[in-house]
């Protein structure tokens, strides 16, 4: 078991007190490809921010890779994110002042386990996998939304994270590229035993995954 969520609750107080997550508990096994579905506003993104350790204002317990990370300080959580979690965002994608290649390399440069040449080689590999190798040296700001999203996916993969989380990672992609990304994720899960947790509105995408968790109004069905 790679991820355990125990009775997680979260409230917002602004503008009025409002419980967006209500007693959420589930386990995810290593190598599992899990999708998270539910109506808009039901709390999927909110949950994903908690799972990714970025949001620490919740009650309940979160265990990642056997470590109870609830209550860890920000620096420890940052290190866990850097090494163990890859994240694809719903809207905000890339650092616009850098090339695509550099964007992908940054998390690995931060981790500092490989040399710059090795990192660059790996980054190019990821780009090729996603059919983006010809855009490598373009500034990130000059890409279309779909292209940016694919670069963001490549970036999430660069450190071979244990868990890859995506908030609608294929939201901006056409069906052909959605299929490409799905195949990549599935291969990572089943062959490299990396765990995938992805929010999606795409029913086919959800159905094809190993398991679908459905949320309604801050609860799991």
């Amino acid at each position: 078991m790679i991820l355990r969520v125990e009775n997680i609750e979260k409230k917002f107080f602004d503008p009025i007190e409002f419980k967006v997550l209500n007693g959420i508990s589930f386990d995810v096994q290593q190598g599992e490809f899990v999708t998270l579905v539910g109506k808009s506003g039901c709390g999927k993104s909110t949950l994903l921010y908690i799972l990714s350790t970025m949001d620490t204002e919740y009650s309940g317990r979160l265990t990642i890779d056997g470590e109870d990370v609830t209550g860890y300080d920000q620096n420890r959580l940052a290190a866990i994110r850097n090494e163990k979690i890859g994240f694809v965002f719903q809207f905000h994608y890339l650092l616009t002042d850098f090339t695509c290649l550099k964007n992908i390399m940054i998390p690995a440069l931060r981790l500092g386990k490989l040399t710059e040449e090795e990192i660059e080689y790996r980054a190019m590999e990821k780009l090729r996998m996603l059919g983006m190798e010809d855009q490598a040296l373009k500034p990130a700001s000059k890409l279309s939304g779909g292209q940016q999203q694919r670069v963001a996916i490549a970036r999430a993969l660069i450190n071979d994270p244990l868990i890859i989380m995506g908030d609608e990672p294929t939201g901006n992609l056409d069906s052909k590229n959605t299929q490409v990304v799905f195949d990549i994720l599935q291969e990572l899960a089943h062959e490299k035993k990396q765990t995938i947790i992805a929010v999606t509105h795409d029913n086919d995408f959800a159905k094809a995954s190993d398991r679908t968790i459905e949320m309604v109004d801050g609860r799991i069905l």
């Binding site: 993104s45 921010y49 990714s52 970025m54 949001d55 920000q74 620096n75 940052a78 290190a79 866990i80 994110r81 850097n82 090494e83 979690i85 994240f87 965002f89 719903q90 809207f91 905000h92 994608y93 890339l94 650092l95 616009t96 002042d97 850098f98 940054i106 998390p107 440069l109 931060r110 981790l111 500092g112 970036r155």
Partner: protein
Amino acid sequence: MNINRNIAWTYFVASKKMTIVAILGVVIGISIFMFMNSMAAGFDRTSGESFFKTTPHIRVYKDDKISQPLKEESLSKTLIVNPKVVPSINTIDNPMDWVKLIRKQKEVVVVFPQVSCPVFYNNGKSQITGTTIGFDPVEADKMFRISTFTVQGSIADLSTHQDGIIIGSGIAEKMNLLTGDKINMTSSKGINLTLTVVGIFKTNNSKEDKTKSYVNLATGQQFLKENNAYVTDINVNIDNPDRAPEIAKELTNLTGYKAEDWIAANETYMAASRIRKIVIMFISFTLLIVSSFGIYNILNMTVSQKINDIAILKAMGFNGGDVIRIFVYQALTIGAIGVMLGVLLALILVQALQHVYIGGDIGYFPIRFEPWVFLRGIFIGLLITFLAGFVPAKKAAKVDPVSIFRK
């Protein structure tokens, strides 16, 4: 390159116009800071130099005493008293013993006794009032470096001519005297002597040059109608003139006579010089602070423009410290370039001003390259840069990525 520095550099290059403006601010602030402080140091040095042409670091002399009421119980009774200076001879008893003792003190480098006597230089019917100083020419030259400002003859000739005298250039001009000429003088004690001019000095302090003359100690004592044990002052020079107040205190305790340091002796001048220093400090620091606003401004802008980037970096595992480093590196890059160019500009300004002739007592503008001033400028410049960058960087480090992603 370290990734934080790499990102900092990218931001540095990305906002060219503002970066250049910020750098210019630092260049101007730093160069004016260094320039003005070099100027202040130059003024201090020249005024110090001109002081020490005529003033010892410490002067030991017998202070006048005010008469005290004879009766102790005067406090309880009303008593009319009329305090007066006690009439006594201003001589230091056994001066040579004191000279020997003072010479043994730590940090003391030159000690010699002198007498000073008010005199008239008789110029036909008219008289010039002035002062003559009697001392041992060899020791006195060690202290005042008289040989560096004698324009005719030499101080050494005074040692060989018992009846010799060295006069200020102002006296020489008025009385139309050259070395070898005779000069007639009358002292306040009514002694009249005719001496031979063996040298003429020019301190560039016109008051000194118009009134002062140097004679042998014995001649001075003769003017005062006193024997060869009579001495009014003991002059003392030490290693470091700045330590004069402390050492003067020690000498007062040691001898029981009044020991006055040059700083106390020139109270008014020192106060004016302190005010000048404060004004220069104030102006140059204000400039530095204003120039740091440029850096603060550009960093604040970058932080708010790149708030998305900061959120993404944090999501990818950059911690607060990394974010601070990114923006502080950016600030320091601007600061370092600004400081470097500022040093260059300051050097050019100092060079240029060195060749400006002011005239009068000063001559060329008293400014030169002051390593300490420059080092201090570099240090303060980088420190202010750091602080100007640190404040926005700290703000950036506090950015909550989730609240950015939710927008």
